[in-house]
Amino acid sequence: MYDSLILLMVLSLFLGCGCWLFFVWGVKKGEFDDLERPKHRMLDDDDEEKGEKK
């Protein structure tokens, strides 16, 4: 009866490990070095034309 439970717990650990590896990869790539700029980046670039018309 506990077999399925243990299987699920191990599975969840593996899933979690996948996320963890993804996180470690992100840190090593420097994705967490600048926490300010990215949130502004999405607002940029698309309204350049407006600036030209002004």
Binding site: D47, E48, E52
Partner: protein, 807 residues
């Protein structure tokens, strides 16, 4: 003249009187403070990026007015370029970035330049990484284009120390991330166990859950908690128990207890062990971020130290690195440049601002044969100098060595948390032993019960609240300080600042403005004072000399209209002559006017110490004089009064003349002052004070203050001061405003009050928890709940610091 200060459309700085540049745009008139700003405006709008002006969100003017002067050449920048494959890259600090729109503007603009392949600007550090094709563009072109935009680019190299700090930060982030992820998994098992505790649970399933808990907790303790383990070991080896040891005892005792309980039946404390490590890692991480933010803040305040100089060999001029200058080399130093080495003037004469080196506020005339000190600034004409000492022996280098010596002498100071830990750790261990003894011998409980009860006491006594008490308060405190324009370079500085007993001020540039101000106007009989001011201001209008700027500024304030002057001629160390409305006007010192044949100069008038007289003549007749002196900062008096109220003594140490120092001491109500001190003397004075048991705050801005700044318990530099002072200080005021020192001190005191409250709270938690644990009544579920509650209280209390508005 307008009463409302004119604001430059581009840079937002106040437009100095008489230099406004106007531009008609679609019917509206835009006003700029200089051609540079107008050029930048045209460049930005021309590139179709004019939405910058509506996007930006900034309140303060940033880059100084002389920011546009720096020149760049490829030879000098070559050392900063990194090669990879067919493209090169260079790291640049872009000065003047103040908001997200600036970042956007720079990224978009640089990205469109020919040959640029990729550009990324880091908003937090103002650092840009530019990847470009070396066959299509050069670093100097890029730099020139950035400075045309109105920003000041500086090459950036990572020092080994920064490199390792970056690595450490990433390492810490991974350790924290791992701990966080595993603790999440652990909580799922723990909740199942909690439910089992209340509703009943089968032995087998409980055992499985506990085994899984053990599996995920072990890496948290031994991988994520490694910094604490090694720190605790170091502390033990030096027989100085630290905070780390306390954390390790708490985590290890609950971990070992839980392993025992897993295999022998009973409740486990795994989540307590994992939580302690995770939460305290979070505190460390936050503290590190605050520190890095402070470092990049000071990085931005540092100016461009002269990296190269112009050497003359025969008819040939070349740019050489300062380290390559040899004794006897002939160098060319233009107006506005810093002298790179100590030397003598070979040809030419110039007014030299020596205030960074000596503290003397007024420029000194240097002529052929006069000695010059490295670090002082050439204000007027281009001169040729002969190098006396290579850069490694220059005045600045000698001061740098003094700084290093002072830093080496400074013993590390034990923080409050570590002081508490050194008492707490032995106390907790004794309590554990006592419990064991009490349970085993007096109550005759079995050995196992006695052992478990005493372990429970130890783990309850080492709560996370104690570990979180200091870091959270310090992060909140440094954050509040940064918002108020005060940059703390580390958390321990808040602690030291809150307990200072003596403040030592430098004079020039610290309690005074560092630039002369008009004090008094003495017209000759029959001449209107305003007229006198107008004449002087009109003739001085083109000059960069601090006295000229003071007179022009004063004229604008008092409403004296400037008239156009022609035929202006400057004599270094003398004055200026020119024509104002067909009458020749002379403005300068006494000797200059005498040499120009002006009769009837008044006899030596009394001047206050540190003051300078400027004489004015029209049509060859003496018209009056203007007295200037380096005036005290408006806020200096209040700052000193504040410190007196806090029972902190204030002293003045200056390189300036004794009478001037005494005058300042009397005017500000300081408790004492000494003049004519060399940089080494200042250091000795500070060290004497410290030896006498005082905690010393030193505030200064000059090269000559640097050794004393690093010798003091807390060194405070002021923005606009010299680089070396900013670098060697612990605390930087981001604006030249002394009242921020009061803000800094207030924040430091509040932060330490919060830390004490937090520690007090953790102590109360112990007071309740330990008796419960000793009697063996405490169950894991209550221990976990109490721990979460106390941690929340501590974090919430610390956050109060960020809510309060300083400034």
């Amino acid at each position: 003249m307008s009463v409302q200060p004119d604001i430059c459309f581009h840079c937002g700085a106040q437009i100095p009187v008489g230099v406004v540049v106007e531009k008609q745009v679609e019917g509206a008139t835009l006003r700029f403070c200089c051609k540079g700003c107008l050029g930048a405006y045209l460049l930005i709008t021309g590139a179709g990026l004019s939405s910058f002006y509506t996007r930006r969100d900034t309140e303060e003017a940033g880059v100084g007015s002389n920011a546009y002067q720096a020149g760049f050449d490829d030879a000098g920048l070559a050392a900063f370029v990194r090669h990879s494959g067919h493209s090169d890259s260079i790291d640049v600090i872009i000065d003047g970035i103040r908001c997200a729109a600036c970042v956007w503007l720079n990224e978009t603009f640089i990205g469109r330049l020919d040959g640029v392949e990729q550009v990324r600007v880091n908003y937090a550090t103002n650092r840009a990484n530019i990847v470009y094709d070396p066959s299509r563009t050069t670093p100097a072109t890029l730099f020139a284009r950035i400075s045309e935009l109105g920003y000041l680019p500086r090459p950036y190299t990572r020092s080994a120390a920064q490199e390792s700090a970056d690595r450490e930060q990433r390492d810490l982030l991974i350790r924290f991330g791992t701990a966080f992820f595993l603790t999440m998994q652990l909580m799922a098992y723990s909740f199942a166990l909690y439910a089992g505790y209340f509703q009943g649970i089968g032995h087998e399933i409980k055992y499985i859950l506990q085994l899984f808990s053990l599996l995920v907790t072990a890496p948290v303790i031994f991988y994520s908690g490694w910094p604490f383990l090694s720190g605790a070991w170091r502390g033990l080896k030096n027989s100085a128990p630290t905070m780390d040891l306390l954390i390790v005892i708490g985590a290890l005792s609950s971990f070992l207890y839980s392993i025992y309980a897993t295999f022998n039946g009973g409740e486990v404390y795994f989540e307590t062990a994992a939580m302690i490590v995770t939460l305290i890692l979070a505190g460390r991480l936050l503290e590190n971020y605050a520190k890095r933010r402070a470092c990049s803040g000071t990085e931005r305040l540092l100016g461009l130290t002269v990296g190269t100089a112009t050497r003359i060999t025969g008819e040939h001029q070349e740019q050489v690195a300062i380290a390559d200058i040899r004794t006897g080399d002939i160098l060319l130093v233009g107006a506005g440049e810093r002298f790179p080495v100590d030397g003598r003037i070979q040809e030419g004469s110039a007014d030299v601002d020596e205030s960074p080196a000596t503290g003397e506020p007024l420029p000194v005339l240097k002529q052929t044969g006069d000695r010059l000190t490295a670090g002082s600034i050439n204000l007027t004409g281009t001169v040729r100098i002969i190098c006396d000492h290579p850069a490694a022996d220059s005045f600045v280098a000698r001061v740098a060595r003094l700084v290093e010596e002072a830093q080496n002498r400074r013993a590390p100071i034990q923080g409050l948390a570590d002081r508490i830990a050194s008492l707490f750790v032995p106390g907790v261990l004794l309590l554990g032993l006592g419990t064991f003894f009490w349970q085993y011998r007096l109550l005759d409980n079995p050995l196992e019960t006695a052992l478990m009860t005493s372990l429970a006491v130890v783990l309850i006594a080492c709560p996370c609240a104690l570990g979180l008490a200091t870091p959270t308060a310090i992060v909140a405190g440094t954050g509040a300080a940064a918002a108020a324009g005060v940059i703390f370079k580390g958390g321990d500085i808040l602690e030291r600042l809150s307990s200072i007993t003596v403040t030592v001020f430098d004079k020039t540039g610290t309690v005074t403005c560092g630039t002369p101000q008009v004090q008094e106007i003495r017209p000759a009989p029959g001449i209107d004072p305003l007229e006198l001011l107008t004449l002087a201001a009109s003739v001085e209008s083109g000059s960069l000399h601090p006295i000229a700027r003071a007179i022009i500024g004063h004229a604008a304030e008092s409403g004296a209209a400037q008239r156009s002057a022609s035929g202006l001629r400057t004599v270094a160390g003398g004055g200026v002559s020119g024509m104002v409305e067909d009458s020749p006007v002379l403005v300068g010192n006494e000797r200059f006017l005498r040499e120009c044949g002006v009769p009837e100069l008044p006899e030596n008038q009394t001047t206050s110490p540190g003051g300078t007289m400027v004489f004015v003549a029209r049509d060859g007749q003496y018209a009056g004089s203007i007295m200037l002196s380096d005036s005290l900062r408006d806020e200096a008096r209040d700052v000193i009064a504040y410190f007196r109220k806090q029972q902190v003594r204030s002293l003045l140490l200056s390189g300036d003349r004794r009478e001037t120092v005494q005058f300042t001491v009397d005017a500000l109500g300081l408790e004492g002052g000494t003049g004519e001190l060399t940089p080494a003397d200042k250091t000795v004075r500070v060290e004497q004070l410290r030896a006498a048991g005082e905690t010393v705050l030193m505030a200064g801005d000059g090269i000559n203050d640097a050794p004393a700044l690093s010798a003091a318990d807390v060194g405070c530099a002021i923005a606009g001061g010299t680089d070396i002072a900013i670098e060697t200080s612990d605390l930087v005021l981001a604006r030249p405003d002394l009242s921020r020192l009061v803000t800094a001190h207030t924040i430091a005191r509040h932060t330490m009050a919060i830390v004490r409250q937090n520690l007090g709270w953790a102590f109360i938690y112990n007071l309740v928890g330990i008796p419960l644990a000793m009697s063996g009544l405490l169950t894991p579920i209550y221990a976990a709940a109490a721990m979460a509650l106390s941690s929340l209280c501590v974090v919430g209390n610390s956050l109060r610091l960020t809510v309060k508005r300083y400034v």
